[in-house]
Each structure stands twice: as structure tokens, then as C-alpha cells.
């Protein structure tokens, strides 16, 4: 038991320390900051440049529950192309813990497709907007 705890906490320590190794966003932050203000939010640009990823996210439970890009990928100062598991752990701590116990070294998106994060099939088919309700 003790050894298990040690391995686990060592694993976490490695994962947590990965926080400090941030990637560089392919488009440099300074370039993005020079864009018109309407185009600086991640999802605005990514709707155009990675429409598939955007759509997957937009139809996920994450999107409905307002979990946005920066919560996993960080901001420019703390950007990760592949988010460290610590980011998942803010909400899914126990799931990550169980996963590490059962399959050390695995990541959430081995099973739950990234951006959709559904176990089987796809995301939420119908996200309602104003036109669905016949409103003015």
C-alpha cells in the first residue's frame, strides 16, 4: 500500500512538474495580439483554422458546461498543445487517479476522444440556438 502511494505520488509529482514546460503556440502571441480584438479569442480563430476540432468541442458536454480552451490548453504564457493531466485533475481528480492506478502512463483521451470526451459515439447532437425556439 505504502509503495503504491509512493509510486502514485511520484507519478503526480512528474505530472505536476510538467506544468512548467509550456509549448509555444504555433502563431506567436504577439501576432495574435496585433489582430483586431474580435479575433483574439481562441475559439474565434479556431472556428476557421481547425473547424473540425471546434465543432467537436462545441458539441461536447464541456462546451455546454462552459469549459473553454484555456482551461485545458492554458493561455499563451502557459500554453500546452497537449494539456498536462493536471489540468483535467481540477475536476476529474479521482478519475485520473484511478486511471493511473489501473493503467499507469495512460491519458484520458486514450479512451475518451479529445475535444468530445464521450466514451461511446459522439457528442451532444443538438445544441439549441435562438432559431430552434421560434423567438424574435
Amino acid at each position: 500500500m505504502k509503495a503504491k502511494v509512493f509510486i502514485l505520488s511520484a507519478g503526480f509529482a512528474v505530472m505536476l512538474s510538467s506544468l512548467s514546460f509550456a509549448d509555444q503556440h504555433p502563431l506567436p502571441p504577439d501576432t495574435i495580439r496585433s489582430l483586431p480584438p474580435q479575433q483574439q479569442q481562441c475559439r474565434v480563430c479556431h472556428q476557421q483554422v481547425t473547424p473540425k476540432v471546434y465543432k467537436e468541442w462545441a458539441h461536447s458536454k464541456h462546451a455546454i458546461a462552459n469549459v473553454r480552451c484555456f482551461q485545458c490548453h492554458g493561455t499563451f504564457e502557459d500554453f500546452h498543445r497537449t494539456p498536462p493531466l493536471t489540468k483535467c485533475m481540477a475536476c476529474h481528480y479521482n478519475e485520473v487517479e484511478t486511471m493511473q492506478k489501473n493503467k499507469p502512463g495512460s491519458v484520458c483521451w486514450d479512451c475518451h476522444k479529445e475535444h468530445i470526451f464521450e466514451f461511446h459515439g459522439h457528442g451532444v447532437k443538438k445544441i439549441k440556438t435562438a432559431k430552434d425556439f421560434g423567438v424574435k
Binding site: 483586431p36 483574439q40 504564457e77 481540477a90 445544441i127 439549441k128 440556438t129 435562438a130 425556439f133 424574435k136
Partner: protein
């Protein structure tokens, strides 16, 4: 404009998200990083031994974890704060909490970045005149000056039935229960009922609603009903953004049972909350009373009401002005009279009044669904911030009573609280001018005497008449001719202590309030962690400890109290407010002893007696022991025997529980099990069970033991339709409504300093319906001039075909601190005659294009070093200075 409708809509759809508008800042705006690294080797962890021995603490590798509660809305999510090498480094949810089950929203997972933010206030600052810069002073000197200024203000004012008229306290639903309790005790013992707080702007109408419908404040059920409900009726709440973790539960319930569960969202604006809704009822702002009465009418006409429940557990009441003495009681009428009353609200009539997409058939559909399934209703400011907020609260509860949707799993009328401690601290802790702690009221001589006895102060210490409610209190500071005319006999206030809130950004129609605060004959004390739009008009700024830097309890929406212990060392000289009060009490007592006026001199003893039980604890340990001592007095002595009893919820129990305790929790045994989930239900609520026995109500399953209802029944109220105070007209043809965005909390003084949040939403915007925008030639991102009879704003436009307000309505978020974008210069201060809560949600405005789109910057109020001391940037920068 040479642009066709079709092309326009296409364009605006493409720009939907784009027009969310800008970012310009990225924290670099102030050249500082979000988190200041503590000096090398400094260990900021400061965890009380008692906490370390409890389940609220654990150590894993180089991480120490302390369990507390989130402070960024009224949900009450349980969080673990992780300290790495003695520095706050991460926050995660508590899996075993029945509130959030481990989940957090972006505010909850990021607030650790504020602990060592460079903008934190770290020393007491003082200036005699508001025209001078602030100078750092010692705590001793600060208390000396405050005591002198309080006495001066008392003498300048008068003594009357509400006590001294010259001094006021304005608190917050974010202050800890211990803090609100001690502040109000301090004021009452000093002899003033001028005790108010921002929950007046937020929850007062819900209090009025529960008091009239249940005879006692606060809801009957809790969040657990979401998982059991078949219908979730959301009205006047953008739950997805304002209570994201509760919305997650609703989403989960809906998506796991797409066919069985129905979500109905009722709102003039299509908000992110509608993403999973089955029905969105869009109605003209302010017509909700007609809509709800019509739903009740259908339920009765079609015989869908729960006859047994209504007959046995409900009675019908009506208030007639001039005939009835007490508005909370009114007079009883028959079911027939109620039936007759609602019969004029036919679905056809309501559909015509409500406009939008409301049709008679849709009303019938909603009514049938509401009546025939287990329904939970939730609401917040959309109902509360109205001139008929109490009535509309009653009308929602009416539907639950008619259909027996109360006191059962999956059925409840649940008013969501906006702030983390509006319920626990202010509503239960006595933080408003007319109430006293433990659900007591100022007007009741028995209640006053009970408290005086507990506090050990002479009989008659608490003045018998309620003080000024919020709008009146601030009008007594601005004290213009108009204010005096509006409130005859208004007495000016010369001293105000504003604690953990920023009224000079959050009050409606605030121009004159700001001008009043800027005068030098009003002494303003502000306790906060960051400079704000209120501290810029202060004489004294006292740095207080932040969440997790002090100890105390928050009570959330569902009557649940949770403890957040100290874990982090506060920066500089920042101290908990409890300590400030205990010190000030002693200084004030000394000074009052020397006063000539015997009435004033007599208060020396009571004010000393007020803080005396806590002096030793304040000396030994103001961070943990002091709070514990105050909580003991409050929970075990003041709430004992009341319906909001927390007598069993000791700090020990609260540390143990992963999710706190719901009152009534009269004993430690009950508290250890989490308290009472379902109020009023015999067998589930210990008070109801006891009540049934005592009154011989042996066959009653549910009992309304609210002290106002002598018939022990729930009351269904006859409330007619009434529109808003200022409907649109030819001159101001649009409805203006305001609200919150998920990233930012209220006035943005905290969330505006977290770079992730400020980066996504650096400034506010105005949402306009595409049809209106097209008519007025406004493009996404354009700067729009918004004017009301009270003020103006210049805001970038967001135009979306997917979300947004109905035609003829605009919507603005109120977190922005920039002078041009503070929407509360424009909102109206008309208030509900019962709850005194202002109608933030509806007023008339006009809009026009002001300038083409341009990059905008975030503006945050900060302190800057100048010759001779410190000034706020907004005091130096002319473009941000107000009043000019």
C-alpha cells in the same frame, strides 16, 4: 446602410463569436504577472493545528491540501486548495461533496492566483480629505481615527427610534457569517440599525417571497432534487453562466434522460442556458406576472392541481392596501376567490401581454407539464431585481403549492443565491436593516430582548425601528434635494463602513451616490483586498485577509453551511475583519467613556461588552480561534431554538463533513449526518416532527411551521400583473437589462486580475437583436451609445443570431470598471415596495451607432505611488475620473 437583411444576418452569424469582441490586454496591460512568487524560501502555508488533525487536511508529496469552499457564486462548491512548497499552486474539487461532486468552473479553479497578486492591499491607508493622496498609517492610528470619526458622525446626526442616524454599515454576501454577525452586533450595540448589505440588491425579493409563501425564509429542498426532477423550470436565471456547476447537474440529468426530462427556460433573452432546453419561453421583460398567473389558471381550469395537497396544506391570501395592516399577512380568501382571480389570466390574454414567442398553446403545454411531473423551479435576479420581485417570487411558489410540487424528491421552488454567503451570512446573520440574527426581526420586542440577553447588554440596547434600506441609505449620503423629496424626513449619514463590496459600481443609478461619497463631510471606510471603484472615494482603506487567509463559514443556496479554514499567510499587514472589530470596539469604548452626553457614554459599556468575549481569542489567534469563538456564540447561542438552528454544526463537525451541514441542525448527531435536506416534512425535518407532536397534527405529512403562518399552512397569494417601473416609450424605445458572464464575478475586481479570465473577456459589450441592429445600421463590434434618463455608456456591439435578447431589448454585463462602460450609471433605482430591492433588470433606454469598431482595453482600478502617498489611477487619469 447598403446591406440587405439576408446578407446582414449571414454576416452577423459568421461573426457571432467574433463579435464577442476583444482582448487587448493580456495582463501585460499592467506589466505584471498574475501571481507574484513569494520570496525565495518563504513558506506561505499557515494551517491551524486543529485543521491539520482533521479530515479537511492532507499531505501528498510536496503538496499540502486544505479543504474549503469556493467564494465565486452561491452554489457552494467544495474545493481543495493545494499548496506546493508552501505556496498556493492549484485548486481542485472535492469528489465527495454532494454539491459539486468534484467539478469546478473556471473561477473556482483559478482563484488561487489572487493570493499574492501584486495589486493586493497590504497596509492601512488614510487621507483626511478625498482630494489628498492616501498615506500609510499603523493599525492603532487607523482605529483611533475611525473611532473619532464615528463619534463625530454620531454627534452630527440624531438619536431616534432607529438609533443613531449618522453612522452606517454596508456589508456583503461575500463576508463570512462570523463577520456579518459581528458587524451587525457591533452596530446594534452601538445603537444603530443602519445595517445593510449587497444582498439587498440580490436576494431581498426572494426573502420576501419565502416569508410570505412559507412564513419563514429560505427554501424547503435543495440541489439533490435536480437528479430526481422530470421538469426543470428555469425562470430569470442564466444558470449556465451564473451557477455553472448546478447547470452541469441539470445538463447531466437532461442528457442522460433526453426523452423523460424536460428543461424549460423562461427568459426574454436566449442565453447559454437554452442550449439544452426543450422549450424557451421568450416574453417581454416585466410581463412574467401575467405569464405565471396564466399557467396557474390553466392548471386550475384543467383540474390538474393536487386537490388533497391544496385542501390540507394550503390557504389563500391577498393583500389589499388600506384594508390590511400587515403586508406579510394580508387576509385569507377562499379557493373560489383565487380561482376567480386567476381566471382573467387566460392563456390568450397572457400571450398578448407577454409577446415574444409566447402563444396560448405554449402556455398550456408548460402548465400541463409543470402540473403532471415532478418539477423543480429555479430563479435568480431575473425575478428578484424587479419592482414586483416579491410578487413574482410568490407566483412561482404558487405553482408548486397548487401542484403539490413541494417537499417531495424532485420537487422544489428553489431560489438560487447569487453570492456565497447571502443566505448564511446576511439573511441568517442579521445583516439587513430590519432583521436580526437567527431569523429574528428588529420590530419584534421579544426578539430584541432575546438577543440582548444572549449578548449580556442592557434591555433596550437595540433600537426598535429598522434602519435605512440600501437605496435609502445611499440617498442619505448623497442627500440631494431629490433624495429628500423621495424619502421625507431623511436624515443624513456622515460615516459609512463598506465591507467586501463595491457599491459605487454595483448600485443602480449611482451618479449621485458617487457624488455624495466624493464630499468631504462623509467619512468612508472601505475594507477590501483590491482597490475598487468604491475605495477611490474612501478616506480609509483597510486591507483585509482574502478567502483561505482567514477562517469562517459560508452558507449557500440550500441552507448549507460550510467552513473554510485558514491555510495561507495574508500579505503585508492584511488582517481579518473580526480582529479589526475587536480592536476598534476597545478603542471606541475608551473614547465613549469620556463623552458628556449620557446616552452616548452609556454605549461605552455595551460596545465593550459586544467584543469582550472575543478579546482574548483575538490576542492569541485572530486567524482561527477568534472565528471559532464568534461562530460558537452565533451557532450555539444565537441560532439555538430558531428554525435556522446550527447549534450542532460546530467547527469540528464542519471540518469533518465533505459538504457542510444543512440547517435545521439542532444537535451534533443530526449535523454529523449533514443536517436536514427536506424542510417541513414530518419524519425528515426534526423541527416539523416535533411541531406535529406538539400541536397534535398527527396525520399531517408536511407542516409549514413558519412563524408568520399561524394556520401551519403554505400560502398561495393572489398577485395581479403589474409591469415594470419604467417601460420603453417613444423617447427611450428599448428595454435595458443587465447580467453576468461566467468568467467574471460581479464588479470584476478579483476575476479581472486573473489573466485567463480577463484575457477572454477584458471588457463588457452590449448585446443587440440582429433585427434592431440592422434597422439602426449597427455592425458587430461597432461602438454604440446607450442612453437612459440617468446616464450613458459607450459599448461595443455583439450581434448574434444564435443567442441574445429579443427584439426591442438590449443586454449589458456589469463587471467592467471603465467609466464609459459601467452600466449602473444607466440602470434605474426604482425598488420593490416590499423587499426594497431595485429593478436592475428593466429600464428604458435608446441606442445609436457611436463609432466604428476599435480595439478596447481593460480598465482596472489600481493604486499608484504619487508624491505624498498613493492615489488610484482613476483619480489621476481624467478619462476615468468620475465624478468629474
Amino acid at each position: 446602410m447598403g446591406i440587405g437583411r439576408r446578407e446582414f444576418l449571414k454576416k452577423s452569424a459568421a461573426l457571432t463569436a467574433a463579435s464577442l469582441v476583444g482582448i487587448n490586454l493580456k495582463i501585460k496591460a499592467d506589466g505584471k504577472l498574475g501571481v507574484e512568487e513569494a520570496t525565495a524560501g518563504e513558506n506561505l502555508a499557515q494551517i491551524p493545528e486543529e485543521v491539520k488533525r482533521s479530515p479537511a487536511y492532507k499531505k501528498e508529496g510536496e503538496y499540502e491540501w486544505v479543504r474549503g469552499v469556493c467564494r465565486f457564486c452561491g452554489t457552494g462548491c467544495k474545493v481543495w486548495l493545494g499548496l506546493k512548497n508552501g505556496k498556493p499552486a492549484v485548486i481542485r474539487g472535492e469528489k465527495n461533496s454532494v454539491i459539486n461532486f468534484g467539478f469546478l468552473c473556471m473561477k473556482g479553479m483559478l482563484f488561487y492566483k489572487l493570493f499574492r497578486h501584486p495589486d493586493r492591499l497590504t497596509q492601512p491607508l488614510y487621507r483626511k480629505s478625498k482630494k489628498e493622496p492616501f498615506k500609510p498609517i499603523s493599525w492603532e492610528k487607523a482605529f483611533d481615527i475611525i473611532a473619532d470619526e464615528m463619534i463625530k458622525a454620531i454627534k452630527k446626526g440624531e438619536w431616534g427610534p432607529m438609533g443613531w442616524t449618522g453612522i452606517a454599515y454596508y456589508g456583503s454576501g461575500q463576508a463570512l457569517t462570523e463577520e456579518t454577525y459581528l458587524f451587525q452586533k457591533f452596530w446594534r450595540c452601538l445603537g444603530s440599525n443602519h445595517v445593510e448589505g449587497n444582498p439587498r440588491l440580490c436576494m431581498a425579493s426572494a426573502v420576501g417571497g419565502y416569508l410570505t409563501s412559507f412564513g419563514t425564509d429560505e427554501p424547503a429542498g435543495g440541489y439533490a432534487d435536480f437528479e430526481e426532477a422530470d421538469t426543470i423550470f428555469i425562470i430569470g436565471s442564466n444558470t449556465a453562466e451564473c451557477h455553472p456547476i448546478l447547470y452541469r447537474r441539470i445538463m447531466r440529468r437532461k442528457l442522460s434522460n433526453p426523452k423523460e426530462v424536460m428543461v424549460i427556460n423562461v427568459d426574454p433573452r436566449v442565453s447559454p442556458t437554452s442550449k439544452i432546453a426543450d422549450i424557451h419561453l421568450q416574453f417581454k421583460p416585466g410581463t412574467d406576472l401575467a405569464l405565471l398567473n396564466a399557467i396557474a389558471n390553466v392548471i386550475i381550469q384543467e383540474g390538474l392541481y393536487d386537490k388533497e395537497f391544496v385542501e390540507k396544506y394550503c390557504s389563500f391570501h391577498k393583500f389589499t392596501k388600506g384594508k390590511d395592516k400587515v403586508p406579510l399577512i394580508g387576509h385569507q380568501v377562499s379557493f373560489e376567490e383565487y380561482k376567480e382571480f386567476v381566471s382573467k389570466y387566460t392563456p390568450e390574454y397572457a400571450a398578448e401581454v407577454c409577446g415574444g414567442n409566447v402563444t396560448p398553446e405554449l402556455i398550456r403545454k408548460v402548465a400541463r407539464r409543470f402540473a403532471t411531473t415532478k418539477t423543480v423551479s429555479i430563479w435568480t435576479m431575473g425575478l428578484n431585481q424587479r419592482t414586483r420581485g416579491v410578487w413574482v417570487n410568490n407566483l412561482v411558489t404558487n405553482l408548486h403549492l397548487l401542484t403539490g410540487n413541494l417537499g417531495k424528491d424532485g420537487a422544489d421552488a428553489l431560489s438560487l443565491t447569487g453570492q456565497p454567503n447571502a443566505c448564511g451570512g446576511v439573511r441568517e446573520g442579521g445583516g439587513l436593516c430590519h432583521i436580526l440574527p437567527g431569523h429574528r426581526v428588529v420590530k419584534n420586542p421579544k426578539h430584541r430582548a432575546e438577543l440582548e440577553k444572549i449578548w449580556g447588554v442592557p434591555k433596550g440596547t437595540i433600537p426598535p425601528k429598522p434602519g435605512y434600506h440600501t437605496v435609502k441609505m445611499f440617498s442619505a449620503i448623497s442627500y440631494t434635494e431629490e433624495d429628500k423629496k423621495r424619502f421625507p424626513g431623511l436624515k443624513p449619514i456622515y460615516f459609512i463602513w463598506v465591507n467586501e463590496t463595491s457599491p459605487l459600481q454595483s448600485l443602480p443609478n449611482m451618479r449621485r451616490f458617487r457624488e455624495g461619497f466624493a464630499r468631504d463631510d462623509v467619512f468612508v471606510v472601505v475594507t477590501d483586498i483590491f482597490p475598487t471603484r468604491t475605495s477611490e472615494l474612501a478616506n480609509m482603506i483597510l486591507p483585509c485577509a482574502f478567502h483561505f487567509e482567514k477562517t469562517g463559514v459560508y452558507g449557500c443556496t440550500e441552507r448549507r453551511s460550510q467552513l473554510t479554514p485558514k491555510a495561507v499567510k495574508a500579505p503585508g499587514q492584511a488582517m481579518p475583519e473580526l480582529w479589526m472589530l475587536v480592536q476598534l470596539g476597545q478603542v471606541l469604548a475608551k473614547k465613549l467613556r469620556k463623552e458628556r452626553d449620557p446616552k452616548l457614554r452609556a454605549r461605552a459599556k455595551t460596545i465593550y461588552q459586544c467584543v469582550a468575549p472575543f478579546i482574548e481569542a483575538a490576542k492569541r489567534d485572530p486567524w482561527w480561534e477568534l472565528s471559532k469563538k464568534v461562530w460558537e456564540e452565533y451557532a450555539q447561542r444565537v441560532t439555538k431554538g430558531r428554525d435556522s438552528t446550527l447549534a450542532g454544526a460546530t467547527y469540528e463537525v464542519l471540518l469533518e463533513r465533505p459538504d457542510g451541514v444543512q440547517w435545521p441542525a439542532p444537535t451534533v448527531e443530526i449535523a454529523r449526518k449533514g443536517g436536514t435536506l427536506r424542510r417541513f416534512v414530518v419524519g425528515k425535518d426534526p423541527l416539523a416532527t416535533e411541531f406535529a407532536k406538539k400541536h397534535g397534527l398527527t396525520d399531517w405529512k408536511i407542516i409549514d411551521y413558519g412563524h408568520l403562518h399561524k394556520d401551519h399552512k403554505f400560502w398561495i397569494w393572489l398577485r395581479p400583473y403589474k409591469g415594470p417601473a419604467e417601460p420603453p416609450d417613444a423617447e427611450y424605445p428599448f428595454y435595458l437589462s443587465t447580467g453576468r458572464v461566467i468568467d467574471h464575478w460581479h464588479t470584476g475586481s478579483m476575476t479581472g486580475r486573473i489573466r485567463e479570465l480577463a484575457g477572454d473577456y477584458p471588457h463588457t459589450w452590449i448585446e443587440i437583436n440582429p433585427k434592431d441592429a440592422q434597422r439602426l445600421g449597427i455592425q458587430p463590434g461597432d461602438l454604440v451609445l446607450l442612453e437612459t434618463r440617468r446616464g450613458r455608456n459607450i459599448l461595443p456591439a455583439r450581434i448574434s443570431t444564435e443567442e441574445g435578447p429579443m427584439e426591442g431589448m438590449v443586454f449589458v454585463y456589469w463587471y467592467d470598471q471603465s467609466k464609459d462602460r459601467m452600466i449602473n450609471f444607466c440602470t434605474i433605482d426604482a425598488f420593490d415596495p416590499g423587499s426594497k430591492q431595485p429593478e436592475f433588470k428593466i429600464c428604458a433606454c435608446r441606442i445609436k451607432k457611436y463609432a466604428p469598431a476599435k480595439p478596447l482595453k481593460q480598465f482596472l482600478v489600481k493604486l499608484e505611488k504619487v508624491s505624498g502617498g498613493y492615489l488610484h489611477n482613476s483619480e489621476i487619469d481624467k478619462s476615468q475620473k468620475h465624478p468629474v
